[in-house]
Structure formats: structure tokens, C-alpha cells
Amino acid sequence: MTTYEVVAEGLGKRYGPTRALDRFDLAVPTGTVYGLLGPNGAGKTTAVRILTTLLRFDAGRATVAGFDVLRQPDEVRARIGLTGQYAAVDETLSGRQNLELFGRLFRLGRREARQRATELLERFGLAEAAGRSAGEYSGGMRRRLDLAASLIRTPRVLFLDEPTTGLDPRSRNQVWDLVRALVAEGTTVLLTTQYLEEADQLAHRISVIDAGRVVAEGSPDELKSMTGGDRIEVVVRDAADLDLAARIVAPICGAEPERDPEIRHLSVPVTDRVAGLVDVVRALDDAGVAVEDIGLRRATLDEAFLHLTGHRPDETREPVGAGRKADVG
């Protein structure tokens, strides 16, 4: 039986007339990475702040690690880690002093706190910078310190709010590797992101959020197939052949291809992937159409998102009912 580490039922949060979250449901299976995907202002941060006990909500209920977020906040706090898009570390203290401070506040003894700080600094590649002020760290180092601070006591649930926003690709890959390693050790991760690639790479399941509501839920592959699945793409050598090629392809795939004469390109959805491709190649060859390029392409999560919400995920959108406060506050 599947157990769920994070459950939200009908969560609602309003700021005046603005609905930051509206009947928001979530069920994160234990030991998985769950992605909340949505544009700026969609309510991702609001959801995370509610689940980490930082923000009250107006409607619904939520449990984390089996404890009620509203009634047993201290039980929840003892079992979670939180790393946000703004590094929540003390910039004046050194990296080591930060980890020792948080260790003490997690009720580790002085020696234990020191030992744990040493381990984490080593593991996160910060041992050499341990004595420097966190304020002098690079963005990637600060994020790693922030992540280390969330792991002082290995949390049952780790919340990562846009953990790689503003990071260079190398730092981003480091964060991804760390997340994978944590999940391998049994931690459940709830991740928010506006990057489809990140959700695709890390998440076992994804909820797509828009304007405070879940508009779709499923595995990355399921979401991709919602847009119509895979496509066959053909580039003909001679633009004059494009209409002929479309007439040949349409009955095989059972759909009218999209045509772009500019780049002599046509694209058509296909269900029976390999057989469809073989048939198309053979038919085009028989008709004497010179083909420059042909192939199968999986739908991207980008297309899925566009399909589901009517806009692209990286467009900053201010939907009616989700102001700045919903995202940042």
C-alpha cells in the first residue's frame, strides 16, 4: 500500500480578494520526489510556506509526516527541512558557525553540532570556505550551505522551493545530484520549480499549478502524453513536395499534419510509433519524395504545459487572483 508523506486537501489561502491557493490538493508518496510546476505567481511558494508551518491557511487541511500542520506544528518542524530560493542563512556568520548554530537549535549537543557541521561542510564541498562569512559565498555555495542547514537532522520530508533558480548549470547539476542521493537514502522531497527540465529530471510525479489550482497531475510521461504523445517529423528536400508528402502521411497516421513551408517541415501525431515511422518512410519513398530528415520526437513537458495552461511556464504571469504576495510572501 502506498503511504503518503505530505497530504493536502482543499487548501485555500486568500490575501484580501486574491486567491493564492484555491482548493489545492496534494498527495506525495513516501520516498519519492514530487514536483510542483507552475509559473511565477501560481501559488507554489504559498503551498510550501503553508506545509512548512510558516503560513496559516483559511480552508482545508494538511499533514506532513503524519502530523497536522496547524495543530502539531512543532512535530512537523522536527521532521522537515526547508531550502528556499532565497538562501536562509546568517550572512554574517561563517559557514561553520551557521551549521553549528542550526545544529544547536535542533537540540544537538555542542560536540555533536560541531561534528555534524564538519561532516556536512565536507559533503557539500564547503570545507575550505568553512571559516568565511556566508555573505561572501557565491550563489551556488550559499545554496549548498542552505541545503546543508536543512539536513542537519536528516529530515523525513525536504521542501525545496525553486532550489536552482539563479544558479549556473554546474551548481544546478550539483544540487540535482544531492537531491537524488537524499532520495536514495529515503527522504521524501517536495520540489517547486518553473523549469520543466528540472521537474522532468528529478520528479517521479508532478502537479501542474496555475492560479492557485492544480490543473494536472501525473508522472512526467503521463503529462507529456496528454498533449497527444509522440510525433513524426519530416523535412522534405523540395518545398514543392510538401503538399504531396502531407497527403501521403495523413491516412497512415490518421491525422492532418501541420505544415511549415518555410523550413519544408511537417509534423504529425502518431500512436503506433515504430510501425508508423516505417510505413511513412516506405510510402514517401514509393512516391519518390526526396526526404532530407525524418524522425520520431517525444512531446516535451513544455508542450504539455502550454497545452494545459494556455501559456508557457517561463512567462511571468500575474493571473487574476495571484499577486506578488502569493509567490514571495
Binding site: 512548512t52 510558516l54 522536527a78 526547508l82 536562509a88 554574517t92 556568520l93 537549535l105
Partner: protein, 261 residues
């Protein structure tokens, strides 16, 4: 309860490390009162009168001590506002620590810091010819009243920071908010020498109560007149800070809880 104390102490240590790692900030807060001693004591001092006679610098120094306690407001408020703006408070709030620790830790650290500042000020005072005349016991009592005032000001500062939130704004408003309290008081000039309405306001100013009380305890000149507040300076020097703490500590706690709205 024990966790509240332990967490409060951990947070106190954090704030003390801040002082050690940013000594330039401490120098800034010392320089203003020392400048006041030099400017008012030596430049204007010759033209100033002390009612009942007496040396102006000896009259001024207790006022400077109180002023230093007041300007600690800036350090407290900007410190808290900076924490709030940097997201580190979010981490604290998402951890299983005592809710009170952020504020009690700040208050305790600022008190320790005020002790350091007081020691320096006392030495500076002695160097410019100020002295306590009625024995060590009363002098220590006077220092105690100063520190009590500082604790009250800390809570005003914590509340101010939670109200305003933006550290830049806090930094800008602290001085104009604090300065009138030193000007319309007995810090620089005896209220007897002011126009009557302003004189009365000065006498009832909480800062004046502490200034008058410590002048009395140090045996410094300038014991002001026969008005009720002047005659009950010691009582008021205890009552005012207690009243301020009783008002602003609950307000600050309420404001802190509202962060989760």
C-alpha cells in the same frame, strides 16, 4: 521553559558573534556619544548654565550615558529588520526551536553589548573630569537603571523592526524618531531654563527620569527644581522602563506571530 532558555542563549551567542565579526558597527555606535561629550562639553559647555551651579561636563555626562542607551535603538531595530529581510527568520520559524528565542536572544545580546558600551563610557567620562561622588553602591545602582532603560528600548526597537520590516527604512527613521526625545529632555539643558510647556514635557520625558535619577545617584549637579517628576525621579526611572517593556514586549510578540498571516 528550559528549551526557551537554551534557545534564547544560543540566539544570544549568535548576536554576540555578529558584534565580534562586525567591530566597525560597534565603533559607529560609540563615536556618536563620544562626539557629543567633546562638542557639548568643550565647545558649547562654556556658555551653558547649570542651575544651582556646577561643572557643565559633570552635568552633561549622565545625559550622554542615557543618550547612548537610546541610540542602541538603531542597532536593535536594524539587526531585527535585517534578519527578517534575509529569510533567515524563515529558517528559524521552520525549526523546532522556542518561538521566543529570536526576541529574547536579541534582548539579552543587546544588554551584554550595552554593558560593554557603559564600561567604555564610564572610562571616557572619568577622562574628561566626570566622577561619581556618592560611593560605588549608588553608582552601580545608576548603571542598573541605565541598563533597565536599554532593555525597554530594545523591545521598542524589536517592535519597530517588525512593524517597518525594511532595514533601509528602519535605518532612516531611527534617528529622527529618537532625536526629539534627547532634545526635549534634561539631557543637555535643565527644563527649568526652557519655555514652560516644553519644560513640562521635558520633565515627563522617560529619558529625563533616568537622567535625573542617575544624576542624583552619581551625585552630579543639576538636580532640577521642585516639580513632581523632578522629586520622584528614582521612582519614574523604574516605572517608565517597566511600562515600556509591558507595552512593547507583548506588541512585538503579537507582531511576530502575525508573520504567519
Amino acid at each position: 521553559m528550559t528549551t526557551a532558555v537554551a534557545d534564547g542563549w544560543t540566539m544570544t551567542r549568535r548576536n554576540m558573534i555578529h558584534v565580534v565579526r562586525q567591530p566597525e558597527e560597534v565603533i559607529l555606535y560609540f563615536s556618536l556619544p563620544i562626539m557629543f561629550v567633546l562638542v557639548f562639553g568643550y565647545v558649547f559647555g562654556s556658555g551653558m548654565q547649570v542651575p544651582g551651579g556646577g561643572n557643565y561636563r559633570e552635568f552633561l555626562l549622565p545625559g550622554v550615558f542615557v543618550m547612548t542607551m537610546l541610540y542602541g535603538l538603531g542597532a536593535t531595530a536594524t539587526g531585527v529588520a535585517l534578519d527578517l529581510s534575509r529569510g533567515v527568520v524563515d529558517r528559524f520559524r521552520s525549526m523546532p526551536m522556542a518561538r521566543s528565542a529570536l526576541m529574547t536572544g536579541r534582548s539579552a545580546a543587546d544588554l551584554l553589548r550595552a554593558m560593554l558600551e557603559m564600561s567604555t563610557l564610564l572610562v571616557c567620562g572619568l577622562l574628561v573630569g566626570w566622577q561619581w561622588r556618592l560611593g560605588v553602591g549608588k553608582a552601580l545602582l545608576a548603571v542598573g537603571l541605565l541598563l533597565l532603560l536599554r532593555v525597554a528600548i530594545t523591545w521598542v526597537g524589536i517592535y519597530l523592526a517588525l512593524l517597518v520590516r525594511n532595514p533601509d527604512t528602519v535605518g532612516v527613521i531611527v534617528f529622527p524618531a529618537a532625536f526629539p526625545f534627547t532634545a526635549v529632555s534634561n539631557v543637555f539643558v535643565s527644563p527649568e531654563l526652557m519655555p514652560s510647556v516644553i519644560g513640562t514635557i521635558s520633565e515627563w520625558n522617560p529619558l529625563s527620569a533616568t537622567v535625573a535619577a542617575i544624576r542624583e545617584l552619581f551625585g552630579n549637579p543639576g538636580l532640577g527644581g521642585d516639580s513632581w517628576p523632578a522629586e520622584h525621579a528614582l521612582l519614574l526611572a523604574v516605572l517608565w522602563p517597566v511600562l515600556l517593556i509591558a507595552t512593547f514586549a507583548p506588541l512585538a510578540v503579537r507582531r511576530y506571530r502575525r508573520l504567519s498571516r
